[in-house]
């Protein structure tokens, strides 16, 4: 954590403590924490993990402060997040003003979570879902390379005769942000709009969403300048900028009656006139007292390949895990996963989600096993 960010954190904590005295009835603090361990059996990095013990990739801590004035519909929410794999630098993951104008209508303005997936909103709060790592094939940065936007969300909810439903419309942009995919750093420039609908009845939830990233650029010009071997791989992008304007559609199902658990979600990402991939997972589980054993199958399926060359990320994983409720606020999880990058005829660009470029290493028909252990807590 650098000095400047430490100062910011100390300042924010001081504000919180002072404010807590002045507005104790209006201010609430909540937090979440994950401490975890990961290791694979492959020396090449796979989603940030190698065959060496890794205690930082999963670990994170988040503090959320909500200030709700005693009068009026507004609330002010800040969520500070520090991740082990980012050197514990503190970032404001969320910072928005929200208002519930009526029982049915609310909005949020500011830095908010991009509602791409079924569990996007609680992606960092491990206690709310069964896995240690939500299925990387769908939820990974390789598929959707951002999690937050600066923008607006409008939500309408109502109770129907047969089910409750809510509709969410949002739009915004991503502040320039660097992400890593297949070992390559990209700068993202993004404008996006979308719609989401949820239908809930008893223990069953159906979610549909559609997103249009109408202005999306992945800029790796700096990497290209530094590493000439990339020029061959990305011959179609001599300037080091990939225009990835995309649409993304999802369908998700969630059933949890307290015993039986079923989760399934599929997302189709269509990069205009270039490529299409359909990524999905299915999870089943059964609660035995404090124990929730679960099994997941998760797939990246490229259905339409770009002609001028990009990395092929096809792979599939099977994940066997257990979530153990130690107390209501603390869970322990263990997971074993097996991932296979298929042998794709006439395609030397297969890389799955390995953190290296296929021009440097051949990943075809490669396999990787991973063990993950984690403690999730909310407070």
């Amino acid at each position: 954590m650098n000095l400047e960010k430490t100062r910011i954190l100390v300042y924010i904590l001081a504000v919180i403590l002072y404010s807590n005295v002045a507005y104790s009835r209006s201010l609430s603090h909540n937090g979440f924490l994950t401490a975890g361990f990961s290791q694979t059996d492959n020396e090449i990095s796979f989603i940030g993990v190698t065959d060496e013990m890794n205690f930082s990739d999963l670990s994170l801590i988040g503090i959320q402060t909500t200030f709700k004035p005693s009068e009026g519909p507004f609330q002010f929410v800040t969520q500070l997040l520090a991740r082990g794999n980012q050197g514990w630098d503190v970032d404001a993951e969320w910072a928005y003003v929200g208002a519930r104008l009526t029982d049915s209508f609310e909005f949020q303005v500011g830095k908010v979570r991009a509602p791409m997936f079924m569990i996007s909103e609680t992606l960092d709060v491990g206690i709310t879902y069964p896995w240690i790592r939500p299925p990387e094939e769908l939820y990974g940065f390789n598929n959707i390379p951002f999690t937050t936007i600066n923008g607006l969300k409008f939500k309408y909810r109502n109770e129907g005769q047969y089910f409750d439903y809510d509709l969410l419309i949002y739009g915004g942009e991503n502040p320039e942000e660097t992400v890593t995919s297949n070992g390559l750093e990209y700068l993202i420039v993004l404008k996006i709009a979308g719609i989401e609908a949820n239908f809930v009845r008893d223990n069953f939830k159906l979610r549909l969403s559609y997103h249009d990233a109408y202005d999306l650029f992945l800029d790796f010009a700096a990497e290209l300048a530094a590493n000439p071997t990339l020029a061959t791989l990305f011959a179609g992008y001599p300037n080091g900028i990939i225009e990835s304007n995309s649409t993304f559609s999802t369908l998700g199902l969630d059933y949890n009656d307290g015993r039986f658990l079923l989760m399934a979600e599929v997302g189709q990402r269509k990069v205009r006139e270039n490529s299409t991939n359909v990524n999905w997972f299915v999870t089943v589980g059964y609660q035995f007292g404090r124990f929730l054993p679960h099994l997941t199958h998760s797939v990246i399926n490229i259905t339409e390949v770009e002609t001028n060359g990009t990395i092929n990320n096809e792979q599939q994983s099977t994940i066997l895990g257990v979530k153990i409720s130690v107390t209501p606020a603390i869970v322990v999880k263990a997971e074993l996963s097996h991932t296979h990058v298929p042998d794709i005829p006439d395609d030397s660009l297969a890389a799955g989600l390995f953190d290296a470029l296929p021009v440097l290493v051949s990943f075809e028909d490669d396999k990787v096993n991973m063990v993950n252990l984690a403690i999730n807590m909310v407070f």
Binding site: Q75, V125, E159, V378
Partner: protein, 142 residues
């Protein structure tokens, strides 16, 4: 001590070591002047999960009991159909998405009774053996 006596002793020790907290049932209560005579479990469940703010068209503020109270666990298992861990995960989902916060809680049955008997827009739950004329029962879970 023969084998039979030893077994009886062990059964006695086991039974004595298991905390037995029995309640007569959970009574869901409102102020006597509140215009609700009877509520169904589903309406109460939805209210306590923050899915609605009304029961039979009347806006009510749910009052919870402190975590760890036996009557709280009984209420959530029988009426809301969630155990303590599932409930924590449910509220974590809402809290960390700005989607809502759990009902405010008080320490025990007597505090719930005192609060509900003084506010016409409050609803709470207590051990049904503690019901008296200061409050009105709208649902009982046995």
């Amino acid at each position: 001590m023969n084998l039979r006596s030893l077994l009886l002793f062990m059964v006695y020790v086991f039974c004595a070591s298991v905390p037995v907290i029995a309640t007569a049932g959970v009574a869901v209560i409102v102020h006597p002047d509140t215009n609700i005579q009877e509520a169904d479990a589903d309406s109460i469940k939805r209210l306590y999960l923050g899915k609605t703010s009304k029961v039979l068209g009347i806006k009510l503020n749910p009052v919870d009991q402190a975590e760890g109270n036996a009557i709280r666990d009984e209420f959530y298992e029988k009426v809301v159909e969630k155990d303590a861990s599932q409930l924590k995960a449910y509220w974590a989902q809402l809290i960390f998405t700005g989607g809502g916060s759990p009902p405010s809680s008080v320490n025990n049955d007597n505090a719930v009774k005192q609060l509900v008997s003084s506010k016409t827009n409050a609803i709470g739950y207590i051990d049904s053996s503690l019901v008296d004329s200061s409050i009105k029962v709208v649902f009982i879970a046995n």
